[in-house]
């Protein structure tokens, strides 16, 4: 048992803690040993915090002991080793966004989600690698080093939350928090054979999340199974007075949604998601997953989301436009890299020109162009109007079906270096995840098989604030197939 502690799910570990069969210190030590063993190959972390983790684990064990003596139940996160994407602020722990410009930034406060994790008693193991400022689909845009896919070290883990997904798959933590602006939780989860949930826009507070594209960003869990995703979401969801875009709807106990039963559930299959360029092995795995849902009693209906092909250009105008405004704050004055020059404007140019990597510069340029005089109507405003149409597609679809299923990505994990020189090709990797962010709805990616030895992800999309629906369908599928139990051969 001991040797496999790091491969437990959060829920399984919680059960052992409740029964007194293990301790948080034992769990944390097992995870730290696994990090020592595989981190040199995977490189999932930018910062590892072993002392802090063990201190939090000892405190958690004291609390667990008290709860057990009193016969009380306790938070399923109490004493659980968790990692956090390095774009979410952690007080006193370096938060770099995988950028040279924030290489030595120590946040003076915790993000609301981190506060909530700490309140629940989670143990923080470290901060995971990402594409710089979450801009990318492979984690190769990290200014420090790329992360590798635990299933094949020559391949990318996906991105931008590639460090989180790889860490979960490799047993370097029991669960993680990522962020998803255009697929950055779901696509790496698919590539690494784990579960990733993008909550509806407004479901989770963004306070303390370093802003990329504010109308699209959401924080979401990356976990070993659907139960853990439900459990983490229950902890981080909810209104926050510090984020005016977090919505004041009640937070259900998402664990209660986990009923392995889909009889009569209407599942939509959008024909626009089965396109040329999709890998054969991916399509096969997805078709088999759809058949499986039908066998379980779901009613499968073909639907149409006619504006799907316009989602990619729409996203790559709106997200960079918002990013170009959000990233204007990095000027070397209040924090971050500072390069002195003879006058202020030159300091700005040099600081930003040297502090940002190629993809971040490309997006700032693209966004600035789309917002600039003469191009605003043709690009930015146009994209916002098409966004309305994309949202309308989903609104109409959800009148007919409860959830929509599709591939998470058209391919399995690609090789390092394969797409770095061709940004457009890299952007196409997000073609199936982007529409969800534009529409503000929720979606989950779960493992649904393998193509040439690499994991394939099934995406289940639901209406805004319909997380219970996607969790239920995902759980029923997971329980019927057990793909989530496969571990990479590290």
């Amino acid at each position: 048992m001991e040797s496999a502690l790091h491969h437990l799910s959060i829920y399984q570990a919680h059960k052992l803690l409740k029964e007194g069969q293990t301790t948080s210190v034992e769990l944390t030590e097992a995870v730290l040993r696994q990090i020592e063993k595989v981190e040199g190959l995977v490189k999932a972390y930018i910062t590892i915090t072993p002392e802090l983790a063990l201190k939090q684990a000892r405190l958690a064990d004291e609390k667990i002991l008290r709860h057990r003596k009193a016969g009380e139940s306790f938070s399923p996160l109490l004493g659980i080793p968790i990692s956090i994407k390095d774009i979410i602020c952690t007080e006193g722990i370096r938060t770099t966004c995988a950028s040279r410009i924030l290489e030595n930034f120590f946040p003076p406060y915790d993000a609301t989600v981190v506060e909530k994790l700490k309140e629940a008693g989670a143990v923080i193991v470290g901060k995971t690698n990402l594409d710089e400022f979450a801009m990318g689909s492979s984690t190769e845009n990290s200014a420090f080093f790329p992360t590798r896919n635990p299933w094949d070290l020559e391949r990318v883990p996906g991105g931008s939350s590639g460090g989180s997904a790889a860490a979960v798959a490799a047993g370097e933590c029991l669960g993680s928090l990522g962020t998803d602006t255009g697929g950055s939780v779901r696509q790496p989860a698919a590539f690494c054979g784990v579960t990733g949930l993008k909550p509806s826009y407004g479901r989770v507070s963004r306070y303390g999340l370093v802003a990329f594209a504010s109308s699209l960003d959401q924080i979401g869990p990356i976990t070993k199974d659907v139960t853990d995703a439900a459990l983490l979401l229950s902890v981080i969801a909810g209104h926050d007075p510090k984020d005016s875009t977090s919505v004041d709807y009640p937070v259900p106990d998402y664990l209660k949604a986990l009923v392995p039963e889909v009889k009569g559930v209407r599942v939509g299959v959008p024909k626009e998601y089965f396109i040329e360029g999709m890998e054969e092995g991916v399509e096969k795995a997805i078709r088999e997953a759809i058949d499986c849902l039908e066998e379980l009693g779901a009613e499968v209906v073909e639907i149409s989301l006619p504006h799907t092909k316009y989602a990619l250009p729409t996203y790559y105008l709106i997200a960079p436009a918002e990013a170009s405004a959000n990233l204007a704050r990095y000027d070397g004055v209040k924090y971050g890299l500072y390069i002195p020059a003879s006058e202020l404007w030159e300091e700005y140019r040099l600081t930003r020109g040297n502090g940002f990597g190629p993809e971040v510069k490309r997006r700032i340029m693209l966004g600035t162009y789309a917002l600039s005089a003469g191009y605003y109507d043709a690009y930015y405003l146009k994209a916002q109007k098409v966004r309305t149409l994309i949202k309308k597609d989903f609104d109409e679809a959800f009148e007919k079906v409860d959830v929509i299923v599709a591939p998470t990505s058209p391919t399995v994990a690609f090789k390092l270096g394969e797409k770095v020189e061709d940004p457009l090709k890299m952007y196409l990797s997000d073609v199936f995840t982007i529409p969800v962010n534009l529409a503000g709805i929720c979606a989950i990616s779960i493992p649904c098989g393998f193509s040439e030895g690499l994991p394939v992800g099934l995406q289940v999309m639901g209406p805004a604030f319909g997380e219970e629906k996607i969790l239920r369908v995902a759980y029923a599928y997971e329980q019927a197939t057990q793909w989530h139990l496969k571990r990479p051969p590290l």
Partner: protein, 95 residues
Amino acid sequence: MAITREEVEHIAELAKLYLTEEEKEKMQRQLSAILDYFAMLQEIDTSLIPPTATVLPLRNVMREDTPAPSFDRDKILANAPQKVEGYVKVKVVLE
């Protein structure tokens, strides 16, 4: 090329981004390819479609203006590259 060298330089100046000659050349090529691809948006007639800036129905969220302790000054200044006597130091903006 959908975008000229001069435009690249103009945008870089708006964004206050120093670019090397090599970066400018690459940026012109890559942005042109991306913008060419984006031209497909012009196929759609959006004359009667309102824009979406946010998917939420919320507008102008207000809260009570209640005084509360703020961050500690030293803690905030700890990340500032240049500071003097409890202030952030910057170069002259107005002559």
